[in-house]
Symmetry: C2
Subunit: 408 residues, 2 copies
């Protein structure tokens, strides 16, 4: 008899019909004798509808009130799912974040979970009930309703799994697992049976939006076995676990890409200590997140400094940088919005030389010019012209034999 | 500097535009230096939408989950109104029933308020904030969300006014006060400046649906001054207070009517002790509420027994009574769905003879046959054929000079 936390996202509970399907699926697992906690998101579209109402009232809605407002979305779903389960003869009981209680800090709209009380839920589970919990929400010390930010239902599920010492945490979504790359770009993309937390983190942060990145961090930290599955089809999805020998055998697990970035370069910067701070300080002050940062070796007394930002922040970052350019007496600012970042990810590359050279050679063979390179222990990212994106992904997918079974 | 509790119903907060109008009204009062607590209902239509979703999931929805579900309606409104107030520069803070906390018993869908904690609200009021509270909801001891039943937002407002020792509780609605009768039936109907709690109770229970009856009881019990006003127009509405000399001067305050009843008679019942119980027991067992009950004096060894029920319950009540008729060896069962109850209400009738005779004479003059009569200390009700309703109301309105100013 195992304890599972299931999480169903907005699309999976997007209508009463779909909530009924979820109820059927949950009942089946419950009938097998397993203990089931279900975390639900708001019905798809509901959160946006509520935010729309809020913005009608107040263009910059009060954070506390916004959280109180949007938290109703999950509350509706959890009550409906509990009714659906009861209708199938499966005893169920719903809990808001406050009722659980999921204690968070007071950072409205992006709160962090501090503690989860598990005795009420455990009592219900031992009583034979399915427990349905509203995702995405909690309460702070003063009983204010908080939310964890978009996608926070994944985090709720993982945190609950940790607090309840669940055997596995299942994230049901509209894809049937984690793929070697996006199947819309490379039809030969293959579903992975397993992936490590670290790989998943790199994949997620690079735009493979299967899971919210914070939930993966959380799962890794608290040793929660995470499984990504489809709400709509059968199958065992992809298990996200600690690195182990079975995973080690694959050099590269997948290829991620991100179309949302833009590149900025300031050239002819006097090469003095503190220059990086002078360049990035105003960017940080403008609340713009920077992704890749590269500073080339200075050729004379000056250096070139390049970084990437989200494309939405490009105009603001450019304006800040133009000002810095004058202040630093640098040569000029160059920007490029037409870029894409393509990355190969795999824990296997740690112990294998030659991965980078295979990557660069593959791109060169296809005539793709590399504009930037950045590496981590288990990832190599390159920035290329966005027109090459599909070509780069497919060429790398083939070069690392990702369409074949995992033993390389 | 006074403390007011304002309550706005579903129509008054039926759209973001209307919620903005409410925010303007509240801000004006706040700017005058008064302390304002606002109780809000769900946006009109929202509660029905949620119940519709629930019935899709479970034809007889689980009570606890239903309360959890529908309570989101008020939570949405309270957050939106707080945003609207903040946008106008008026500091505001919203509270769910649980956050207040409004402690109730565990009778889901029809809970009763046991206690209200007022220290959080008082602290916010003293801090210069407007406090916005979700109507209609509370929590039980185990932190389950409960609702007070339809119209329960009025009860929340009155209970809060009592707990906060508010100077007045204002119920904003789509009418501008309590009228001598329904202006749609008698255009000469006049708005009353004042009415007593007891009169209001009789008017409300007889179908003048300005206020929920429970809230009036509550206001009387806890000595809360209640005022009914329009959300959409200016004016001081109708104040509902204890009986006092100013009110005493009017013999009759108003004429109420109720089209929702049906009449059932069982005749030729053996006139023995316990017969009323034998007749009404099965009706109560079927969970049917009975309004008027009349048993005529027996002429020989048998008696006739008549009562009224809600028209929706007529068929079920008739079936139960038919069975009882056989069991008691009574003569027959007669039913009439085409009736209406018309009542005159006024604390003044206590000390004045002749009110009943004026009523009966007026109806006789118009050729209206009276089918049943029932009286209380401050009310006389008659049941007549429903085709006479408008005629009866207008004739009585004129006979008691209700179109003229209150001094009779």
């Amino acid at each position: 008899m195992a304890l599972y936390v299931y999480k169903f996202g907005g699309t999976s509970v997007g209508s009463v019909e779909r909530i009924k399907m979820v109820a059927e699926k949950v009942k089946k697992a419950h009938d097998l004798g397993d203990k089931i906690v279900v975390v639900v998101s708001a019905m798809s579209g509901e959160t946006n509808r509520l935010i729309g109402l809020a913005k009608h009232m107040q263009p910059q809605p009060n954070d506390r009130e916004l959280d109180t407002l949007v938290s109703t979305g999950e509350q509706v779903t959890m009550a409906l799912l509990s009714m659906g389960l009861e209708e199938l003869g499966c005893p169920a009981r719903s809990y808001t974040g406050s009722q659980v209680k999921i204690l968070t800090d007071s950072s409205f709209t992006k709160a962090r979970i501090l503690n989860i009380e598990n005795h009420n839920i455990m009592a219900d589970l031992n009583d034979g009930k399915v427990v349905v919990v509203a995702g995405f929400q909690g309460v702070d010390e003063d009983n204010n309703i908080t939310t964890l930010g978009r996608g926070g239902s994944d985090t709720t599920a993982v945190a609950l799994a940790a607090a309840l010492k669940a055997d596995e945490c299942h994230i049901y979504t509209d894809v049937d697992g984690v793929y070697t790359t996006d199947p819309r770009v490379e039809p030969k993309a293959r579903r992975l049976d397993r992936i490590t937390f670290e790989e998943m983190l790199e994949m997620a942060s690079l735009g493979s939006k299967v899971l919210q990145i914070r939930s993966v961090e959380f799962a890794g930290k608290y040793n929660v076995k995470l499984r990504v599955l489809s709400s709509f089809t059968q199958g065992c999805g992809t298990l996200i676990t600690y690195e182990d020998s079975a995973v080690e055998s694959a050099l590269i697990s997948g290829i991620a890409f991100n179309r949302d970035e833009a590149k900025l370069t300031i050239s002819g910067v006097p090469d003095l200590p503190g220059v990086a701070y002078k360049i990035l300080g105003p960017i940080a002050d403008a609340n713009i997140e920077v992704d890749m940062i590269i500073q080339n070796v200075a050729d004379d007394a000056t250096t070139d400094f390049t970084f990437t930002v989200h494309r939405n922040d490009y105009a603001r970052a450019k304006a800040a940088l133009d000002k810095t350019c004058v202040e630093l007496n640098a040569k000029k600012v160059m920007g490029d919005e037409g870029i894409v970042k393509v990355s190969i990810v795999g824990v296997g590359m740690r112990s294998h030389a030659g991965i980078a050279s295979t990557m660069f050679k593959t791109l060169a063979t296809e005539g793709i010019n590399i504009k930037m390179i950045s590496t981590s222990e288990i990832k190599i990212s390159v920035v290329v012209d966005e027109k090459y994106m599909e070509l780069a992904v497919r060429a790398l997918h083939a070069a690392f034999k990702l369409d074949q079974d995992s033993a390389v």
